[in-house]
């Protein structure tokens, strides 16, 4: 491609680079601020004196987090949740997306099923009925409560469905002519072609399980079963300094752990795994998302 190096073009390029740099800085600075807070002493952070560089430099916040059993327990819960939840989500997505991607000639009932799934994306029965159901099944306080109710993700199904649709019909037809069964077509042909889509869904599923805190809050009766974000939520929630039972010693205890530097450290640690995985999976995920929708 031959570029036309006009004055206008060069000006644009300069402007573009500057703009993008500014935007990137705008996004990075807050993270640096949080990082600085995490390495500062509580007094400076609480006094709002820390900007991009730590003051009263200390590792106290990180030492607190590392010692904090509750933090790591919840981290472990989230890991277990990921191990079970992501594959489950992936399997269910494929099971639904593949048949739904067939046209109505091949699969007449398709359109009814599609609306059955879509309806669910919009209509939510609410927390109470879902809780009562999960409780009556006996899933409360188990990893399954974090994984089964959200096992089917309709958004993911729509994405993968569109991706399958994008695979040229000829591939399937020629396979059928050669006498291949549907499940062979799925496993030997479509799935390998769908690697980018699988990576995409995996990433989305990972993000959803990593970030969500609602299920942990509702379905777990014990803090040791809280997943990471539920635990962090309870830490971040504005805990008004309230006097319980006329006992002032409780306030002294609270004082020791109320520094905003601790909050910053916990947040930062909980971001690290995602910061590592995201760029890595990025290259797969871009291709998968696209082909699905562009080819309609």
């Amino acid at each position: 491609m031959r570029e036309f190096y006009s004055k206008g073009r060069i000006a644009f390029q300069i402007f573009n680079y500057i703009l993008i740099t500014a935007l990137t800085l705008l996004c990075v600075l807050p993270i640096i601020h949080v990082l600085a807070m995490s390495f500062s002493s509580a007094a400076y952070v609480d006094s709002n004196l820390v900007s991009l560089w730590p003051l009263g430099l200390t590792t106290a916040a990180y030492r607190f987090v590392i010692k904090n059993v509750a933090f790591w327990t919840s981290f472990g819960v989230t890991l277990r949740r990921l191990l079970v939840g992501v594959p489950l989500n992936l399997i269910l997505t494929i099971l639904a997306a593949y048949p739904l991607s067939k046209d109505e000639l091949t699969f007449k009932a398709r359109k009814y099923y599609v609306w059955l799934f879509l309806f669910v994306m919009l209509f939510n029965a609410g927390l109470i009925p879902t809780y009562l159901l999960v409780k009556s099944i006996g899933l409360v306080d188990s990893v399954w409560a974090l994984v089964l109710p959200t096992g089917v993700n309709v958004f993911n199904i729509v994405l993968m469905m569109n991706f399958f649709r994008g695979i040229p019909k000829e591939i399937e037809e020629s396979a059928l002519v050669e006498g291949a069964k549907q499940h062979t077509i799925l496993f030997r042909l479509f799935l390998p072609l769908a690697k980018p889509s699988i990576a995409t869904i995996t990433l989305f599923s990972f993000m959803q399980h990593w970030n969500s805190w609602m299920e942990g809050r509702i379905y777990m009766n014990n803090t040791s079963y809280y997943p990471l974000q539920t635990y962090l939520q309870t830490v971040m929630e504005s805990s008004d300094t309230v006097l319980q039972n006329s006992n002032l010693d409780a306030i002294v205890d609270q004082m020791a752990v109320s520094g905003q530097n601790l909050r910053a450290a916990q947040l930062f640690i909980s971001i690290i795994p995602v910061l590592i995985i995201y760029p890595f999976l990025q290259k797969y995920f871009t291709a998968g998302l696209v082909v699905g929708s562009v080819k309609g």
């Binding site: 009556s136 805990s239 008004d240 006097l243 039972n245 006329s246 109320s258």
Partner: protein
């Protein structure tokens, strides 16, 4: 991939089917409603715990094994934990369990939910059993002034559905916190009138009280985000004028005016006088222009960084800001004084309302099971015995059940946590005497523990920079106690002064809120907050307040005022 895939799917479905098969109605989940007796003859009680994230067990104790679980076991009660969640989730967790029909035997209910649940039949009726099973100590506890008030608040049409903790309104009285070092720098004395207070606010804003040559301070920090709050809330300001507008633990405040119970903000002349001055202060820049975005975090930050010199708030609010301030301003000193008054004789009109914090109740399914009722009262009795009367306990018993650093976790493990409602007031005199004479023999075990922490601060006041992390933590705890009990002008002294002065605004409504009160209080509270903020920041004229009162009445205020007065008249 094929085989693996199929196996996984089959396994998953299998799990689901199995779980579904175990599904039954809502109530019965195996070990739920059996007689609850196990082999050693102990009764099993289903309970729950809710702790703050900062809470830790000490001395190797655990949630299942600590001095309190042992005490209960000795008394024939084994515990089965149904929930152990973070404190802020206690209410929603209990609500969930109640909804599902399977909830604890022993319940710890917050005051705002008690009445609703009682009406819905969640709790057992204890009226006829109180005399039989409450110990003498417990009965004495409920015969004290505060105990009586608390018990009455738990009565619904003559029936008792829970035993509450007795509370006094002492701890909740707002005081006026001031930077003493700034007063000294400007050669000022503590304010006793509103006029003096405003002048100090002006000087703190304009006369460089921290002497650093920069115009970086202002007089007052106001919590405009929560508006009514223990840290920087506006309650204290309005109470200087003998009025009170904000809800207290969700209750709309009622005071007595001319023999009737009225809304705390009903005297529009007084309120408008307060609003005029507040608005003047805002326009003159005596407090932050963006105060409406300042929540507790921002209030603490302004005090910690030496931006603000005064704040209204609870007696326990200054620990964190003061300890933070010392990092950057080594001379920082906070004192607390009684609320100033419009004139020299009307100071100390803080609003006094005792709201029991917790209501302890028994699951209504045990209504006819005397074993459980007896066990319920046993838990209560033990709580009263070991927590509500520290002076009568031996040092060892005190430590075992109240707590000792590194050995016993203490009172937080108890299911029913009672306390002497005026212990903090009593502690004031004790601590002051001990500081003066150096003699600690009159201190009970709890006082002694607090005193020893306070001494760490007193002894190390001038060598803060030399302390290591561990010592600093104790130092900061000691500083907190010093701010409450130790200093000559500590916050509890201010409270004690206001109590002695006898001008407190007492709440004119003393029992559980009525249905209408519960229904309207949020709307009325929001309305009050919006109005106050609008008038203070000048978005609405002072005269708008009369419109507010009309609106307030029409949105349910009139109805609830009638109900409150009805009760008030009945107590005369």
């Amino acid at each position: 991939m094929n085989k693996f895939f199929k196996t996984v799917v089959v396994l998953l479905i299998g799990c689901m089917m199995l779980n579904l098969a175990a599904c039954s109605g809502g109530n019965d989940l195996g070990n739920g409603s059996s007689s609850g007796e196990d082999s050693d003859g102990n009764l099993t009680m289903k309970i729950g715990y809710a702790y703050d994230t900062s809470f830790e067990y000490k001395g190797g104790e655990t949630v299942e094994n600590n001095t309190w679980t042992q005490l209960y076991a000795q008394s024939g009660i084994d515990l089965e934990i149904m929930y152990n969640v973070e404190e802020t989730q206690k209410d929603e967790k209990i609500a969930q369990l109640i909804m599902s029909g399977d909830y604890p035997d022993f319940l710890d209910i917050s005051s705002s939910y008690y009445k609703d649940y009682a009406v819905q039949g969640v709790f057992a009726d204890l009226t006829d059993y109180f005399d039989k099973y409450a110990s003498d100590l417990t009965k004495a506890y409920y015969e004290t002034e505060y105990g009586k008030m608390a018990l009455e608040s738990a009565m619904l049409e003559g029936k008792l559905y829970a035993l509450p903790t007795a509370a006094s309104g002492n701890d909740g009285l707002p005081v006026l916190w001031i930077r003493k070092d700034w007063l000294d720098n400007l050669d000022l004395s503590e304010p006793t009138t509103v006029e003096e207070f405003v002048e100090i606010a002006r000087m703190f804003s304009q006369e460089d009280p921290d002497g650093n040559g920069q115009d970086d301070t202002y007089g007052l920090v106001v919590n405009g985000k929560e508006v009514f709050h223990a840290s920087g809330g506006v309650e204290g300001f309005f109470q200087m004028f003998g009025t009170t507008l904000g809800t207290k633990e969700g209750n709309i405040p009622f005071i007595e005016v001319d023999g009737k119970a009225v809304y705390g903000g009903a005297e529009d002349e007084k309120v408008m006088e307060a609003l005029t001055i507040f608005n003047d202060m805002y326009s003159s820049g005596y407090f932050a222009q963006d105060f409406v975005t300042s929540g507790e975090e921002q209030v603490f930050s302004a005090l910690s960084s030496g931006k603000a010199g005064m704040a209204f708030g609870a007696m326990y609010m200054m620990g964190t800001p003061w300890k933070n301030a010392l990092e950057t301003q080594s001379d920082a000193e906070f004192i607390a004084v009684a609320l100033p008054g419009v004139d020299k004789d009307s100071w100390g009109q803080a609003f006094y309302m005792a709201v029991p914090a917790k209501y302890y109740a028994l699951n209504s399914k045990h209504q006819d099971n005397e074993e459980y009722i007896k066990a319920f009262f046993e838990v209560i009795n033990l709580g009263v015995q070991y927590l509500a009367q520290p002076d009568a306990l031996s040092q060892e018993d005190y430590e075992k059940y109240n707590g000792k650093d590194d050995t016993y976790t203490g009172w937080q493990c108890a299911l029913a946590a009672f306390a002497d409602p005026i212990k903090n007031l009593n502690a004031l005199k004790k601590h002051q005497k001990a500081l003066e004479t150096g003699d600690t023999s009159h201190l009970n075990a709890e006082n002694l523990r607090d005193f020893e922490t306070m001494i760490v601060y007193v002894d190390n006041k001038d060598r803060r920079d030399e302390l290591d992390e561990g010592e600093l933590a104790l130092f900061e705890g000691g500083l907190f106690y010093w701010s409450v009990w130790g200093a000559e002008q500590c916050s509890y002294q201010a409270i004690s002064d206001m109590i002695d002065n006898g001008k407190l605004l007492h709440s004119a409504y003393g029992v559980a809120p009525t249905d209408s009160m519960v229904e309207y209080s949020t709307t009325l509270d929001t309305l009050a907050k919006e109005t106050i903020i609008d008038i203070i920041s000048g978005n609405k004229p002072i005269s708008y307040y009369t419109d507010f009162l009309e609106l307030w009445n029409s949105l349910g205020g009139e109805v609830i005022t009638e109900e409150a007065d009805k009760w008030f008249q009945s107590t005369k």
